[in-house]
Symmetry: C2
Subunit: 451 residues, 2 copies
């Protein structure tokens, strides 16, 4: 038979079992945390009608999208989870209760140029709250508060959720009579972290057509830093000159005070006037999240408030707020930085039952007994020598091997070997289950270990 | 703005939240059960190199596959999880411990003609055990034993895992000197359930070129029924005439006796000599699973033993055994039959906190307290009238509303309203959490209710 060399496409993450176990654990934390705040899980198709996915059209999206014909159909793979959500809400709005809160942790597709750390297939882990006509400002604090819980659940503490409000920015530009250029300005300011203040100033003058005074006013404004109270105080200095600005300031203050009420420590959120988010549809609060020890990674979780989710599909005002974690990239980066906790058990089983006799019945029964207590138990069924059985247990990195020979069977016992310490004890199956569980619980650390 | 009518492609399942909650619960049972037997979760890309996916080539697969170009790449969407597994094992075989046990619950794609109950995007929930060179027969009993656990976990008891062995069939055909026609014969016999014995006989004679005597021998053979012991005894009557047959009989007897050792009741598995599975790569034990009250659905879970998983990709003998649940179709059918338990809570939250005051702080704190006990708690943040708040709780079908007004805040209490009974009690937050949890546990039935 001709052999075709197996390969996985570049830009597609495919993990070995031990790493996959960590990735699954992160997904479980996401699911549980999102669910604990009353978000409903949603699952939309990977393939949609291309016309629908591209309703907004234009730009990078159209270039990157995977689009193809099948029969007469013009199909495409989703490139984010927001557009499918908009379609879903528009299609099913009479059946949904509003505010509609959903989470979705699914793969999306972008045919970007492949490069290290860039993926063409990657998981996004999104939450959104969609209102019918209106949506209270509290939601804009709850969303980042949930992200705080998620990151803490991962084991991270050195992260910061940076918050801004686009009304403040738009209002400020209006004060400078630059409203017509606010889109260009925001996109330019968004690059501040990457290219620095001087280059931003240059682009503002040369490309956006600002005067030097206007550019300097903008740089002065986005240079406002300090504690959240200090930044908010500095913003008060601009108040009373533009209605939109004032409204944005009220919202930003509400978000900050509610974030505290939701239990997010000030160390983990910061008002940051440089955050604008490049996307046109954000209209109020915007978020980015950075790892404090790895600012070079950029934002690992972003989102914000939008006034109209589904205007392309339905004549109904559906304001919302949402945030998205780029999970595949985050995982890749954490792994590259060596931050995945090496001590965390990653074997597919808590215990491996090794029969030492030919007749499998007693080992099958023992495995079922251990399993019935909630343990993950693998039965080793191959007729191999003891040494090979132990080599398998080692390669699997299973924390416990449970040996069952003639003696143990006769006594109604089993021998439990701790594969790390080498210690071996003979116990009844019930005691073995307790013994193993206690050891596992003592070794249940976080996924991520910050250095 | 021009509005594009939202739609979801036909053949793609997209569920409303209450149904999605049930689907998620089935996936959770699958994950937990598969994991409890020491299977590692795997996640392979949806898109693969088309040449690799089609290495085997030919037939329906090639017609149904979603295949497209992106840049210079010839890409395709996976049409099952077995071919990607073969690629994965071939690619990573030096890093895997054998026997390699993995589960994967993922979407696959087949551009079939759309019709009721047929899906173009659907979940498969697969487990496979891959050996390096050899694989013990015990695995062939463990696989259906796990499926038994899954189905019982769903709430089903009226199902039957039907087991056969292709060596018995091949050996029997060899006795009749029909080995060269065994593929055609097996594919014909596989249709017995659908077209009946007479038509099978007709095809065997007219299309496969059998004599009437040969066709009658085959029909007599596949008509062997009764208890598992009876069928196995009848098979003994053919023993000693063909080595392959005898080997298959030893295997089938081992599978039956080990299935009993794994705790599968005889009512839930049956030796069935008509099962052949149409696919060429099964070489030994084969399985199909039927719902006893809905035989018209056909097999909802099928699989078997194969001698060489990855021969297209690697020059290494990798025998295995696996089984696959067509989850999307199973869910669709159970729903159509009205078997989804209507009593099972499907709301995205266990409790909805309804603030009755303008200041959100106390309600935020109450929600966090309830959440910290493990409950899923949604905070209702909108400034609406009481009636509208309760209408939202009703539409969400949330089991408990927790009301927090001036009085409750002053007393450090909250009012818990059972949304089904209408009963309302005033409790401390800690007592409220216990009260809600107890009520939920009392109402935690199965997903499927057989009639």
């Amino acid at each position: 038979m001709d052999i075709i060399k197996p390969r996985t496409l570049s830009g597609f993450m495919e993990l070995l079992p031990a790493k996959q176990a960590r990735f699954e654990r992160m997904m479980e934390i996401l699911r549980n945390t999102y669910a604990s705040y009353g978000f409903a899980p949603l699952d939309t198709p990977v393939i949609e009608d291309a016309q629908i996915l591209l309703a907004k059209g234009g730009g990078e999206t159209e270039k990157q999208i995977y689009r193809f014909q099948k029969g007469d159909s013009d199909l495409a793979l989703r490139f984010d989870l927001t557009v499918p959500l908009a379609k879903y809400v528009a299609l099913h709005c009479n059946d949904l209760a509003f505010p509609f809160r959903r989470y979705q942790i699914s793969k999306v597709y972008r045919g970007e140029r492949a490069q290290r750390g860039r993926f063409r297939e990657f998981y996004q882990a999104d939450i959104d709250i969609i209102g019918d006509g209106k949506l209270d400002i509290i939601n804009e604090a709850e969303i980042p508060a949930i992200i705080y819980k998620v990151f803490r659940g991962f084991g991270l503490s050195r992260f910061q959720i940076r918050v801004n409000n686009r009304k403040i920015l738009s209002g400020f530009y209006a004060m400078l009579e630059l409203s017509d250029k606010s889109g260009d300005i925001m996109r330019t300011v968004d690059k501040l972290d990457k290219i620095g203040a001087e280059k931003v100033r240059g682009i503002l003058i040369a490309d956006c057509g600002l005067t030097e005074t206007q550019a300097d006013e903008i740089l002065k404004f986005i240079a406002i830093t300090g504690s959240n109270d200090e930044v908010l105080s500095a913003l008060e200095g601009y108040a009373g000159r533009n209605e939109l600005f004032d409204q944005g300031l009220v919202e930003l203050k509400a978000v900050c005070s509610n974030l505290a009420a939701f239990g997010v420590p000030e160390a983990n959120f910061a008002v940051d006037l440089t955050i604008a988010r490049g996307l046109d549809y954000y209209t109020g609060t915007v978020y980015e999240t950075t790892l404090l020890d790895h600012p070079e990674i950029g934002s690992v979780c972003s989102g914000g408030r939008y006034d109209n989710l589904a205007g392309y599909y339905i004549d109904k005002q559906l304001p919302g707020v949402g945030i998205s974690i780029g999970l595949t990239r985050l995982f890749y980066v954490l792994d590259e930085q060596g931050l995945l906790n090496p001590e965390l058990p990653s074997a597919p089983a808590d215990a491996l039952v090794l029969p030492m006799t030919a007749e499998p019945g007693p080992a099958i029964a023992l495995a079922e007994t251990l399993r019935s207590t909630g343990l993950r138990v693998q039965l080793y069924s191959e007729q191999k020598k003891f040494k090979q059985k132990m080599a398998y247990a080692d390669k699997l990195a299973v924390p416990f091997a449970v040996l069952l020979g003639e003696d143990e069977i006769a006594e109604g016992m089993c021998s439990v070997k701790n594969m790390v310490t080498g210690q071996q004890v003979k116990l009844s199956p019930a005691d073995a289950a307790v013994y193993i569980r206690q050891a596992l619980e003592a070794n249940n650390g976080p996924i991520i270990l910050e250095k």
